[in-house]
Symmetry: C3
Subunit: 139 residues, 3 copies
Amino acid sequence: MKSFRKELWFNVPSQRGFVNITGEVEAALRASGIREGLCLVNAMHITASVFINDNESGLHHDYEQWLERLAPHEPTGQYRHNDTGEDNADAHLKRQVMGREVVVAISQGKLDFGPWEAIFYGEFDGGRRKRVLIKIIGE
Amino acid sequence: MKSFRKELWFNVPSQRGFVNITGEVEAALRASGIREGLCLVNAMHITASVFINDNESGLHHDYEQWLERLAPHEPTGQYRHNDTGEDNADAHLKRQVMGREVVVAISQGKLDFGPWEAIFYGEFDGGRRKRVLIKIIGE
Amino acid sequence: MKSFRKELWFNVPSQRGFVNITGEVEAALRASGIREGLCLVNAMHITASVFINDNESGLHHDYEQWLERLAPHEPTGQYRHNDTGEDNADAHLKRQVMGREVVVAISQGKLDFGPWEAIFYGEFDGGRRKRVLIKIIGE
């Protein structure tokens, strides 16, 4: 069994945003030389997500509006977590809806994807450097 | 390390629905000959889910009502994604709540499940042919 | 390829609660002797979650309030699942938001975590004995 590890770094300047990382995961897979296995891609921070969905800017706008409706940033005083001096409690909630990680099958040396699958980093508390972990195991 | 890959095809005639695929995943596991490992089951489409919960029709009705409350289909004009000519933005949102994939432990040649766990395909934009991927790795 | 399996048992006395299980997963990893691989941690029950987020009690209070707003326990008669004699339909919904499982990379014999990641068992229908499964594969 082979294993491969790589970190991706981000600094999303806005509070929230989505970054397509499919190409970087494909590059990591090529570097790994793994042909059959599983690829884990996860946010290493607890106010961010990694998820798979459509590379369409209108949908990303809809996600932004919808998450803000389900778990509003304001008023920040509605969350006890923010009593610690943070103002990012909503980001911890939004990340649970969108998920921490994805696991992707590796088949014949490729990400084994359906026609519209793309991998995104979802930032919910930006303006700082944060990481994603790619871990691939297989043969 | 062994690996095994299989696709399942669906054509749910209604807009939304849940299909129990536990038996098909068990059949794939038997065909794989793998006794210890991990089994990934994921929707290959971004308006569908694979999730594990109860095989109880009342609960599935509750999921349907609840998801429609969290992310309503109508009015379709509330979503920018639908400006592309689609009417399925809500399906992309519902799928994030229910999840893209499950990873199941394989122990002694079986899905290593608790007493009530069952695997479902969740369709949120039906009336077309769509796929689920089963990928098993182990020994 | 090596594999390792361990169950953790819980009996959360309240209806809902969060338990930090990071130390128990680390102990299982040490017992496995695995240095590079993947670690699956999943609830074996369908009214409970395993998730990764912050070990901060204010945030856990916020999760509790937020989940109760998204999927209220009362009135129990609003859910068809409860026609079966159960009163836990809301717990099946809350568990979908928080997730069934996490998959964690194992690198150099450790859980490959960012600075604030911790693993929690989330109970949404307590007062009974329930299990979590840890399955580790690798070398």
